[in-house]
Symmetry: C2
Subunit: 374 residues, 2 copies
């Protein structure tokens, strides 16, 4: 048995991504697939190069649809259970790149209903408030407002529900239970919810590509079974690894523990404090030993955050890796490098976040219906 658990609502233990590829039945994002993506995009993306995106389903069909001129659209999302942390940004930044490189429409779903169903403590008013906070972070990444539509489940169910209903009719309780581990005490909102997460896949007739944390894969396994029954192509997926919590490679970012993650709302002082005090280090017991043996970048959270997100330049990243592993660079210096990158990113992000006009991004039902009728 695996010694880790990963579901849309739970993550325990250190994730073995090779094992995930096998047990989930994913396709590894191998060299030839990466090359095809780079050729189609006319550029590569550092998250693909570095294996942050490590697996896919039917990415080849998406590239073929692009090549043939039929095109595709992109859908990603977020369950608003707290402020946005840097782990959430990974698939969004990638979606932004897909929009820029392929000129595609992007739908972003805020599942305020899911988080309400899941958490005893959260009210719909609170998840709606958090949804707006998360939307602000998403839009601030530089999406084209004319081609980007932010969906809030409790606001936009008028459009989603007829699509969700078609999916729901094809999913039995047995199937949902085995995909998600539901019990008899699961509430009926949660049981239905997977149909709502499937619905955006049916918003357009053309194929959809979904960049997502691999924990969300079970939802779309069901959607992929159902979509062909509804005359739609199977949604294609591209999976990213789960960014570790500040506590180290076995820890998770958690809305319940502010010290487990760096949030997009954190001020420079908080960023400095969190990295210096909380970021798990791959350094040795003392400086002498560190100089002699070098640090372990595989477990060092500061290095991993640079690799996952904050240092797109391979040359600079490689310099840091080499310096740290050789013992020339100390943990304090590595942390300082991360603090600088994060602070720089967040200052620019805060400014963009404040300047965002969300009215340009909310899903507009009339615009959508007009577009679909054409």
């Amino acid at each position: 048995m695996d010694d880790f658990v990963l579901t849309p609502w739970e993550s325990r233990g250190r994730i073995d991504y090779n094992r995930l590829v096998e047990t989930f039945g994913l396709r590894p994002l191998d060299g030839s697939m990466k090359m095809r993506l780079r050729e189609a995009a006319g550029q590569d993306h550092y998250m693909v190069r570095r294996g942050v995106f490590f697996a896919h389903r039917d990415l080849d069909a998406i590239l073929e649809s692009h090549r043939s001129g039929d095109g595709f659209f992109v859908y990603t999302g977020r369950g608003p259970s707290g402020q946005t942390h840097i782990g959430h940004l990974v698939p969004w930044v990638f979606a932004r790149w897909l929009q820029e490189r392929f000129g595609v429409r992007v739908y972003f779903q805020l599942t305020d209903d899911e988080k309400f169903y899941h958490s005893h403590a959260l009210t719909l008013e609170e998840t709606a408030r958090l949804a707006e906070e998360n939307a602000r972070d998403f839009a601030a990444l530089g999406f084209d407002p004319l081609k980007t539509h932010i969906i809030r489940d409790t606001v936009d169910m008028g459009v989603l529900y007829p699509l969700a209903a078609r999916v729901a009719k094809k999913i039995t309780f047995s199937t949902a239970r085995s995909a998600f581990g539901f019990g008899n005490d699961t509430n009926i909102g949660m049981i239905f919810y997977t149909a709502i997460q499937s619905a955006p896949c049916l918003l357009e007739e053309r194929p959809v590509l979904i960049p997502l944390g691999v924990d969300q894969d079970p939802h779309f396994r069901l959607t992929r079974d159902v979509a062909p029954l509804l005359g739609h192509p199977k949604p294609a997926l591209i999976h990213n690894v789960m960014a570790p919590g500040l506590g180290g490679p076995d820890s998770k970012m958690s809305a319940a523990d502010p010290n487990s993650a760096i949030y997009t709302t954190d001020e420079p002082a908080a960023i400095r404090r969190k990295v210096n005090r909380c970021a798990f280090s791959g350094g040795r017991a003392d400086i002498d030993e560190h100089r002699r043996l070098g640090g372990d970048t595989a477990v060092d959270v500061s290095y991993q955050y640079l690799r996952l997100f904050f240092e797109p330049d391979d040359g600079i990243l490689e310099g840091i890796r080499e310096g740290y592993e050789s013992g020339r660079m100390l943990t304090g210096e590595l942390k300082q490098a991360l603090i600088e990158r994060v602070t720089q990113f967040m200052e620019a992000h805060h400014a963009r976040r404040e300047a965002v006009d969300l009215d340009e991004f909310w899903f507009d039902h009339d615009e959508y219906k007009g577009r679909m009728r054409r």
Copy 2:
């Protein structure tokens, strides 16, 4: 064990209403309750006098809320699986009377999603089409368009869903399964659906009274458990008997068998044919025996339709009963009396049905939100 089955989706055997009162835990609509209703309304209604409405839950609380000036609103509905038959009209006609007597707002829910989930054969397009047909029959009964709002689930989910979500979070799979007999092969739309049928109860802060066929009671038993958890009063119910099918007291009106019911779309020739050929008779084997022993009004469908719906005048109905039971009136004459009443009703109904402007009745989200904010 009972030798009949009655659920929102199935009805088998002859219903024992006394047993239903006991097993469902209903309050019988007894003489003192009928008197209180009559006093509050300033008039009585023949369906109440005759026991067509035979049970209730918390009708006394509704009358008290009316007396105190807090008022109430009315909610009823229809699952659009076929054209409207006369059995459907029973709670609607009563809702119309409540509106007239108490000046109340009425919400009418067309559950096009439920029927889609329930039936392999029905598409959402077809249930939406039938919903519009049913809406036309409802509106034609003379409701005040300013105080009457027709809800279509797949159109109006934008307003209903946040209310349904609050209900759904409080209902586990176990609870839904025991209320409705769900199995592992039940689709997840059907499992969630009861929350949607509950949602209109939460549309206003004041108490709601729901006239309904007794088969729908299980939905609202759940709603009544949940409403107080959401700060709402328990929905009050007033239950009508199930009108028998043309085939006799043990038969049901069924959309699948056009000869089982009289539909509001039937032309005079069809009405005549159905009553003459298909209406189960309480008459004897031959005329001599009938003259000697008299007919049995308890099983005669023509008599029951007059009692349930088509002959509001107690004096006339009593004359018919006495004539038929004494053997003076023959089955052919009783059928002729029903045919005349039904034809007369339908001619007027068809004219009103054609004249209805549904745009005056569709649930207007902006009007609703404006009203709720006040």
